[in-house]
């Protein structure tokens, strides 16, 4: 008997925990009154999605978020690869000082300095632009750590062999180190995309027009009390917004789990 109680309790606890999500899915496909009264036999409807879709420029928001995460990821890959390589495989004067400078970034959380960051973005003319949302995140001390670690584990023989074949320093980086670190890139990309897809505070402050707003900010404006949308419509909008990331989680689930465990904090 006990053999069955434990798994049952586990499943129950898990269900309770994901119930907000389940409820959102349920409400999204049902009429409001059916949704809040839990009429299990109520007919499914797509009306909420139509209402939600018509209520805000979602396509634009999707595009903005997509451009934002791609821009950040491209920037991070480039910067972290170059810097990670410099710290891992080259000797130069002032390396420790520069490394500490990079490390200091870990102490300076963007959430804490929003007013000052806003002023910097304003003076660079980056307000209300995708570049403005993304630029501060392109430097990532965490990414440099990961890349440095990955590059350090590349066998020296490969490096020397490539040089004998006539590769320059950048050629070696591109042809030997980058391919060897592919799993690290994937892990880092997953963590980066997941966290920037969901970022809110900085985009909220920097953007002030629909043409640059990402999904998170768009949805929170859409769901603001003064808009008077009901639970079914907001659920439909929420489902729409989280769907791409949920599907991504399903496809890459093994890699995601690995990425979070090895990469740890973002």
């Amino acid at each position: 008997m006990i053999r069955y109680i434990e798994p049952a309790a586990a499943v129950l606890l898990a269900l309770l925990w994901i119930s907000p999500l389940v409820f959102a899915f349920w409400a999204a496909f049902h009429d409001v009154s059916d949704a809040v009264n839990f009429r299990l036999t109520a007919p499914l409807t797509l009306e909420n999605f139509r209402t939600a879709w018509a209520g805000a420029p979602w396509l634009r928001y999707f595009l903005n978020t997509f451009m934002l995460v791609s821009l950040i990821l491209a920037g991070q890959f480039l910067l972290c690869t170059l810097a990670g390589y410099a710290f891992a495989q080259t000797e130069f004067r002032g390396r420790d000082v520069l490394f500490i400078l990079v490390l200091m970034q870990l102490f300076i959380l963007p959430e804490v300095l929003i007013v000052e960051n806003y002023q910097v973005a304003a003076s660079l003319g980056l307000l209300d632009s995708i570049m403005g949302i993304g630029a501060p995140y392109m430097a990532s001390a965490f990414g440099i750590f990961l890349m440095r670690q990955a590059f350090k584990s590349v066998p020296k023989d490969l490096d020397e062999a490539a040089r004998v074949e006539g590769c320059g320093t950048l050629g070696v980086l591109w042809r030997v180190y980058v391919p060897a670190a592919r799993p690290t890139y994937l892990a880092y990309a997953l963590v980066s995309v997941a966290s920037h897809w969901n970022n809110f505070l900085w985009p909220l402050i920097v953007t002030n027009s629909p043409s640059t707003r990402p999904l998170t900010v768009g949805l929170s404006l859409f769901g603001a009390p003064e808009n008077g949308v009901d639970i079914s419509v907001i659920s439909a909008a929420t489902v729409m917004v989280i769907a791409p990331l949920l599907i991504g989680f399903l496809i890459f689930q093994r890699q995601f789990v690995q990425a979070f465990l090895t990469a740890g904090v973002k």
């Binding site: 499943v11 898990a14 925990w17 400078l101 007013v115 997941a194 979070f260």
Partner: protein, 294 residues
Amino acid sequence: MQKRVVFRHRWLPYLLLAPQIAVTLIFFIWPAYQALETSFFLEDVFGFNRTFVWFENFTALFSDGSYLRSFWTTLIFGLSVTLLSMSTALALAVAANRVLRGKMSYRTFLIWPYAVAPALAGVLWFFMMNPSLGIVAYMLESTFGVDWNHYVNGRQALLMVIVAAAWKQISYNFLFFLAGLQSMPKSLIEAAAIDGASPARRFWTICFPLLSPTTFFLLVVNLVYAFFDTFAIIHATTSGGPADATAILVYKVYSTGFVGQDYGSSAAQSVILMALVIAMTVVQFRFVERKVQY
């Protein structure tokens, strides 16, 4: 030829690092310096003049009742979120570790909330807890007779943001606890079982102590999350209200700087928070990483 190679090697590292250092200086070091500098000045209403006032912004903050309350709110919020999300995650991980069939789908389900943006989680909870329309508020009223209204009741508002913030973080904790449990040597637990220790006793005397490196790591991660990463949830659910009942320190920086436009005070708050981050990081490296090891 030889000369060119030497030349390249001398300058290449700096070239490689230049973009990284530029972004770090522009978006991290410079704003931090700005905050530090601004925190020592008092700006007039029009922003034309500012006077050096030493620590006046700081002393003003620490004699300001609402700021001190925000400290307490942050502490209660941070500890509650950490405790709630970690204990739930541990329970789920222990359960998942026991479940033999369907382990993968169980895990997939459980990591889904992580994919939900904090801002979206906030909106979701906001609608579920809405006093007049929300499903959870309705159930609380009909089953437990609780008169739920987080617009008026500060305690309920705080409880709501705690639950919403903890809910978001459980997935993350769950993954780490589960990994910790799975990497545990089975022989120890089997030995204890042969000696006649009950499952509960086996858990508390073997598994829990062996998990402590994971637990301490998560403790720091969760506190940092609760203190600094929960802005979106609070913004979407309560906007810091009612009457500042859910205004944690990060929210205060935002409301003082952007809503109140008091830059000196906001900068001083940023400096205090930076000091907090540094202190937490030092504690993490000094005590946790070294002492908790098996």
